[in-house]
């Protein structure tokens, strides 16, 4: 602690001056190298022999403006599916993770099924699950078969539920056994210990990877276009087919990135807030 009366020694002044000089130097160096890399990339891309063709067929502003409304309309379906699928997959993942932690012979079949589920659906490509669900189930011609959109969404929930279950399980297992011992010693039941002591700590710890998987889920929601519903990607595909120009795909891609930004922001905010609350007290 330096008091207001403290005079900084010559040695310390020298250190401060040195650190300031190196800070200025590293900022200048970063600016210079960024400029060099940027210029090189620009020259490389725009100077390429096919650049004019590429610009016309991928970055046509007129086509972009023309097709933006259609793609946005499709994106609304992606947004709705994203919200539903993310919430459902998180719930399913949490349920499976908790089931896998149950001990005792009574729960053996439950545990075995949950394990089988996480093993198989993490290995199964999402596209195949979507095809099986969206085309296979209607093929049964059962009464009250839900729409292809719902079936495609279910495929995403089932696949991502398996990933999220493993993330939740890692979180649950990272909570030290002494925490459970403390909870049980107070008379809390297994369920209460899980709910009030283990899961809150587990979820906080794995919040970043959970939300990371949710961002991945958001992209893969676009795969339901394979089953037929007109989402942003399907709308862009129609645009590409009608204009013989790839610009609609670029528009859809940019929209997906923009859609991901808030979720990524929330991930950082949630993580930071939890860390600060535990580290900073009140």
């Amino acid at each position: 602690m330096t008091t207001p009366l403290h005079t900084v020694s010559a040695v310390q002044q020298d250190r401060i001056a040195f650190r300031r000089r190196s800070a200025v130097r590293s900022v200048l160096l970063a600016a210079f190298s960024t400029a060099v890399v940027g210029t090189l990339l620009g020259v490389l891309v725009t100077g390429a022999p096919g650049w004019d063709r590429v610009r016309q067929s991928f970055f046509d502003p007129r086509i972009a403006v023309d097709w933006l409304p259609e793609i946005l309309q499709g994106l609304w379906l992606n947004v709705r599916m994203l919200v539903f699928c993310a919430l459902a997959a998180l719930a399913l993942g949490l349920l499976i993770a908790v089931l896998r932690t149950l001990r005792g012979p009574v729960f053996f079949p439950v545990r075995a099924l949950a394990t089988l589920y996480t093993y198989s659906f993490r290995g199964l490509p999402l596209i195949i699950v979507i095809y099986l669900m969206a085309f296979g189930i209607p093929g049964l011609r059962l009464q009250g078969t839900p729409s292809v959109t719902v079936l495609g969404g279910a495929a995403i929930v089932i696949t991502y539920g398996a990933y999220l279950a493993e993330v939740f399980r890692a979180g649950i297992e990272s909570v030290h056994p002494s925490q459970v011992a403390a909870a049980r010693s107070l008379g809390l039941s297994y369920r209460q210990s899980m709910r009030f002591v283990v899961l809150p700590q587990a979820v906080r710890r794995v919040a970043p990877p959970l939300l990371n998987d949710t961002v991945a889920l958001q992209k893969d929601v676009g795969l339901i276009s394979l089953a037929g519903p007109i989402d942003a990607i399907r709308a862009a595909q129609i645009g590409v087919a009608q204009t013989a120009n790839f610009t609609p795909y670029v528009v859809a891609g940019v929209l997906f990135v923009l859609l991901a930004l808030p979720l990524i922001g929330i991930t950082d905010w949630v993580t930071l807030r939890a860390a600060r609350r535990q580290a900073g007290g009140e």
Binding site: A181, R204, Q278
Partner: protein, 246 residues
């Protein structure tokens, strides 16, 4: 008898940790368990709290066989408080929430009443200003006192203290020991595993020396610590004196 252990046996694989241990604790009695690391002190406390399952023998609480598999362990633990060497406070809860968790969720008390009671306790141990803090903002001694309060608000029949000062800096040990001494004054029945021989001598009504999973010798602190009968007890105490802890 509040607590009565008879011929308790506990093994971990091929290691026999408790080997036919018997120990009785009467109402308002304070029993100090001493003995080398691995002599079974902590294991005994965990078995009494049913955190570990015994392999043979009987443990009775107020005459009821709590090691009967038909007994609900949760209801037994509600009557026994356990304080750990490493505090084990819940890091994601404030001090106040740590203390009120069991009263509200297990004993179904009203949240406001539980809070009032918790604040009274915190006030008593001089930690009222820490009620809203998270555990990692507290010193070890403060955390351990919170952990003891957390066990006490459930009004246990029996309080088990597992080397509660072993993880503390020497200058913080005193505040925890003072609290335990006060509890004895109020008639709390306690079993404490400890390496603090001086404290065992002051606060315990009886000292039990554990060796190889049995109570080798027990009696008034002055006798066991001052003039032990068994050679192994003498050996143990000689090593403690050598280490400067008596």
């Amino acid at each position: 008898m509040v607590l009565s252990c008879t011929d308790v046996r506990k093994t971990f694989g091929s290691a026999v940790v408790l080997d036919g241990l018997s120990l009785d604790v009467g109402e308002h009695e304070v029993v100090a368990l001493i003995g080398a690391s691995g002599s079974g002190k902590s294991t005994l406390l965990r078995c009494v709290n049913l955190l570990a399952e015994i392999d043979d023998g009987v443990i009775r609480l107020d005459g009821e066989d709590i090691t009967d598999p038909r007994v609900d362990p949760d209801s037994v633990r509600q009557k026994i408080g356990l304080v750990f060497q490493s505090y084990n406070l819940f890091p994601h809860m404030t001090v106040l929430d740590n203390i009120t968790l069991a009263p509200v969720r297990v004993h179904k008390r009203a949240a406001t009443a539980a809070r009032e009671q918790a604040m009274e306790w915190l006030d008593r141990v001089g930690l009222a200003d820490k009620a809203g803090s998270y555990p990692d903002k507290l010193s070890g001694g403060q955390q351990q006192r919170v952990a003891i309060v957390r066990a006490l608000v459930n009004s246990p029949r029996l309080l088990l203290l597992d080397e509660v000062t072993s993880a503390l800096d020497p200058e913080l040990v005193g505040e925890v020991l003072t609290m335990i001494r006060d509890l004895k004054g109020e008639g709390m029945t306690m079993v404490l595993a400890t390496h603090e021989m001086g404290f065992a001598r002051q606060v315990a009504d009886r000292v039990a020396f554990l060796d190889q999973g049995r109570v080798l010798e027990q009696g008034p602190p002055a006798q066991v610590l001052g003039d032990p009968v068994e050679p192994r007890t003498r050996q143990f105490l000689a090593r403690i004196i050598e280490a400067g802890r008596l």
